[in-house]
Symmetry: C2
Subunit: 327 residues, 2 copies
C-alpha cells in the first residue's frame, strides 16, 4: 500500500520545488523531508538526489556518552556558542534509551525553547525504532538534508550504545566522548570501543569529586593507545550546565578541524563511508528488481513458506530467486 | 584478507563433520560455529546450510526489560526450572548497555557457575558491536545453531533498547517483558513499543513497595489495548532472586505455547520472518556478484571517490554499477 504522496515521483518539478525550499532552509520543507526519509517514502530518494550536489559543506560533530553524562546540555551549549559565532546549526538527537516514549517529540519542544525564534538552529530527534532502512542510514540522510539546508555545523547526539549508534558516530568529522566523575564508569572497561571513536574526551561535570582522578585515568589510557590519525586526543573539562569550558572545547574542535582539513584523512574516511553506502543502496536497488523479475512478492512469500517448513534451506532459496531472475 | 579457515569452503566434508558435532551438542564445535557467525567467516553459511534441516524445533523465549529489572537472574531461574523438567536450554544474552566492556565474557563465566557441569545449558553473550551483518541477524543465526544442537528451549535476553533488540525479540515465540516497581518506569510512556512485543508481563521484585500500583497500571494499559493474537496478556509476579513465582511463570509460558501451537499465528510469523531474511540474504548475494561483474572493489572505490567529491550522486552511481553488470 502506498502512503499518500506529498510529491509524486513522476512529477519531478514538485521535487525540485521542495528541494529549493530545503536549500533555502525552510523549516517546514525540512521537517517534511525528514519524515519522508523516516518512512522511506519513494520521493525521499528523488529529493536527496536533487539536494546531493549542495551537500558536503557541513562540519559534523558527534557527541556520545552514557546516559547521565549531560550530552543534551552540552549540545545546547555548543549550539549556542556556534550561533554566537554566527554559524547555523543543525542538531540530530538519537536517543535509544527511550525508544518507547513519545519523549523525542516532547524533548524537542523543551529544548527548542532555548533557541526559540532562532531560525539558525534546527533540532530533530530521531526515534530508534521503526526505521525500515536502519537508523544509521536514516541519520546519515538527515545529516545530508541539514547540510543541503546550509547548516554549517551539524551535531549528532547519540547515547553511544549499540551498533547503530557507533555507525552514526563514524559519520562525524569530529567525535566528542563524554565522561563524568562518579557515574561508575570504569575507564578500563570502556577502552575497546571508545578509544576508536574519540577525537576529544570531554570530562563533563568537572566540578564533581573525582574529576582529577578520572582525568588521570583517561590520560593513562590514552598513553597506552595513542590517538588515531596522529592526533593526540585531548581531555577538555566542562561544566555544561554553567557553560564552563565550552569556549575551550570549541577551540579544541577547531584545532582538530584545521588539522583534519590538512590531512587526507577526511577524504579516505568519506570514500570508505560512500563505498559502504553504495553497497547498501545497490542491495536495495537489486533486491526489488530481482524479486520483481523472479515472480514478485507472492513468489517470495511462497519460498519463505517453504523455508519456514524446512522444505528448502534459505541459501538455496536465495540462489533460486537469483536464477529465476536470470542473475 | 581471509581469516585462517578452520574448514575450507571447498572441503564440504569438513563442514559436514563440524555440523555433525554441532548436532551432537558438542560445546567446542558450537562455540567455534558462533565465532564463525560473528566474524562472518565464509564457512558459517555452509555450516548453517548443513544444519538448517535440523532446526525449527526449539521454543524461543524472549526476555526483555530495562537495565536493573533483573533479567539475568530471571533467565538463570528459568533455565534452572527447565533443566529440572529435563529440557535442554540455550541462552543468548545480548546486552548493549555494556558494549565497550569485556563484560560479556566475564558475565558468562560468572553465570556459568550456576549451571557448571550441566551440559544441558549453553550460555553465550553476544557483544553489540562489530557485527558485519547486523546484530539481529547474527543472533537469529546463533538461535538456529542452538536449535540444531538440540536445545529445546532457547532464551534470548535483551535490554529492549534500539531497533536491533526489538528485531531480536520479534524472533521469539513468546516474549516476556520485565518491569519492576520503583525503577521510575512510567507505564504510560512504555505503551507504544512494549505493548507490541509483550506476550507476558513479568512484574519482578514483586516484594517491593509499589508492586500493586504497578500491576494496576499495567492491567489498565492492557485493557485499553488487548493482547495481540487474541491472547489476554497476563501479569505474572516474581521475585527472581528467591525463585518465587518462577513456576507460575513457566506454567503461563506453557499456556501461551499451547495456544500458540493451535493457532496459525506461528506459521505466518515465521513466513514473515523468512521473507525478510531472504531479502537480506538475496541482497548480500547480489551485491557481491554485481560488484564483481561491474569491475570489482577497485571500481566501486573509484565511484565512491566520485560520490565523496560530489561529481556524481549516489543514486546515479548505483544505477551505473547495475548497468555495468548488465542488470
Amino acid at each position: 500500500v502506498n502512503a499518500p504522496s506529498i510529491v509524486d515521483r513522476s512529477a519531478p518539478e514538485g521535487v525540485q520545488a521542495w528541494a529549493a525550499q530545503v536549500r533555502d532552509g525552510d523549516v517546514r520543507a525540512l521537517a517534511r523531508a525528514i519524515t519522508a526519509i523516516e518512512n522511506q517514502q519513494p520521493q525521499a530518494e528523488a529529493l536527496l538526489e536533487q539536494l546531493f550536489p549542495s551537500t558536503g559543506k557541513a562540519f559534523l560533530i558527534g557527541v556520545t556518552g552514557a546516559p547521565g553524562t549531560g550530552k543534551s546540555t552540552l549540545v545546547d551549549r555548543l549550539a549556542g556558542a556556534y550561533r554566537s559565532m554566527d554559524r547555523s546549526v543543525g542538531i540530530i538527537a538519537v536517543d535509544p534509551t527511550s525508544p518507547y516514549t513519545g519523549g523525542a517529540v516532547l524533548g524537542d519542544r523543551i529544548r527548542m525553547q532555548n533557541h526559540s525564534g532562532d531560525a539558525g538552529v534546527f533540532i530533530r530527534s530521531m526515534a530508534t525504532r521503526g526505521f525500515l532502512g536502519g537508523l544509521a542510514r536514516a541519520t546519515a540522510d538527515v545529516a545530508l538534508l541539514l547540510d543541503a539546508a546550509g547548516k554549517q555545523v551539524v551535531i549528532l547526539e547519540t547515547v553511544g550504545v549499540g551498533q547503530d549508534e557507533v555507525d552514526i558516530v563514524r559519520l562525524a568529522d569530529c567525535t566528542l566522548v563524554l565522561m563524568v566523575p562518579g557515574l561508575g564508569d570504569d575507564v578500563q572497561s570502556m577502552k575497546a570501543g571508545l578509544m576508536e571513536v574519540a577525537d576529544i574526551f570531554v570530562l563533563n561535570k568537572a566540578e564533581r569529586d573525582g574529576a582529577d582522578r578520572l582525568q588521570q585515568q583517561i590520560e593513562a589510557m590514552l598513553e597506552l593507545a595513542p590517538g588515531r590519525r596522529g592526533w593526540t586526543t585531548p581531555v577538555v573539562r566542562t561544566t555544561a550546565t554553567e557553560g564552563a569550558g565550552v569556549a575551550q572545547l570549541i577551540d579544541t574542535i577547531e584545532q582538530f578541524r584545521m588539522r583534519e582539513e590538512l590531512a587526507a584523512d577526511r577524504r579516505s574516511r568519506m570514500v570508505g563511508h560512500w563505498k559502504q553506502r553504495l553497497r547498501t543502496l545497490l542491495g536495495e536497488h537489486l533486491i526489488d528488481r530481482t524479486v520483481a523479475k523472479a515472480g514478485g512478492e507472492g513468489a517470495l512469500e511462497a519460498l519463505a513458506g517453504d523455508v519456514a517448513e524446512r522444505r528448502v534451506n534459505p541459501y538455496t532459496a536465495v540462489r533460486e530467486i537469483a536464477a529465476r531472475a536470470g542473475i
